[in-house]
Symmetry: C2
Subunit: 198 residues, 2 copies
DNA sequence: TTAAATTTATGACTTAGGTCATAAATCATG
DNA sequence: CATGATTTATGACCTAAGTCATAAATTTAA
């Protein structure tokens, strides 16, 4: 995350996207630094059979899509607005210039990438090795503790649909529905009018 | 990767690990920057049922385990020597000091993390959505093109065991054996005395 | 140079989670 | 506020990949 004032000072634009709009596409080169101002943006892949995998969902003030700005790699996934969203957009060259002038900002960008690498490492291992209930709990605990910094039992209200949980954890929606019901019985989750609490 | 001279100038030690030695453990705090001088190091997770997932295998001159140096997160996986290995080790505080003094080095470390994030994004999507043959080809193509910079067909000799391919792609060794044989029939791979070529 | 360990190989079988069909409940929108 | 779209729900069934057993080929180390 980069402070709004600094972004604007360096000439960042604010762009408004409608729900379902693409911000960039898998395989394309990166030209901008992006940071959410309002709304939600997801990065995803769609395979040949139409199955979706959500890499991550970003809301204010998270940035995304930086890796290809640093290295000669294309975007590994699409970025799509989950809701109507406003996004700061800064030209690649200006962004890199900014990092050189503000080492502390560079460090905080690096910190952000470090956290995402941590999340990806955890989820890759989960998806590869764990059963549905374990995967879902790991995902929700990550969101609860690392993103929302909550500790109290059932203090985290999950604002994801069962389908989104499925697409984040490599499962099918029916499996998530069955697994969350089973987790409720085991008192690992609460379900209050269809919303999950962890 | 940081130049050897610079590492030594900042007081890096060279540590020799025997095959199977642990360099650090999942869940622990990070105190050092690591960079391979010789041999191979893997980062992995072992689940409750004993199944292994290999996050990555590193050889000279790759660094690994940086993310927890930047952010207050623990190691998401173990680091274990795959072969006898020599590793540069630099204290966390000195490493961060080095980055502040050498912005270009900081940028190259960021670049390295960006590439790993790219790899993880690709493999997470593969493991979540693709069948065994697709996963294996994507893994091998990544290693061939992005790590070894090879382009000629079958110019990449894979020096991984079937078991390592399985643990990198979330499959079982029998599945990898059957899938690679099938890929050989389809002329996507060559197998010359048990070695894979892509 | 031999014995032990590892790696590759193959067949039979089992099963977890996916697939498909259908529907109720809830939400969003004109 | 009515209607169409989305989300949650449930049962039946199916299949890809995992599991298990066994063995041959190769590599390692003693």
């Amino acid at each position: 995350m980069i402070a709004e004032e600094l972004l604007l000072e360096f000439g960042a634009e604010v762009i408004t996207y409608a729900k379902e709009d693409y911000l960039f596409e898998e395989g394309k080169k990166a030209h901008y630094y992006f940071q959410v101002k309002s709304g939600e943006v997801k990065m995803n892949n769609i395979n040949a059979q139409g199955k979706e995998f959500i890499q991550s969902i970003f809301s204010c003030p998270r940035s995304f899509g930086e890796p290809p700005l640093f290295s000669d790699i294309p975007y590994p996934a699409n970025a799509i607005a989950v809701t109507k969203a406003e996004v700061y957009r800064l030209k690649k060259e200006v962004f890199l210039e900014l990092l050189l002038n503000y080492p502390q900002v560079h460090l905080s960008v690096t910190r952000g990438m470090a956290k995402r690498l941590y999340y990806k490492a955890i989820m890759a291992s989960e998806i590869s090795s764990e059963d549905p209930e374990h995967r879902i709990l790991t995902l929700l605990d990550y969101l609860k503790e690392d993103v929302h910094q909550l500790t109290e039992p059932f203090s985290f209200k999950v604002n994801l649909t069962r389908q989104q949980i499925a697409d984040l954890s490599g499962l099918r929606v029916e499996t998530v529905i069955r697994a969350t019901k089973s987790l409720e019985k085991k008192e690992e989750l609460k379900i209050k009018n269809r919303k999950l609490y962890r």
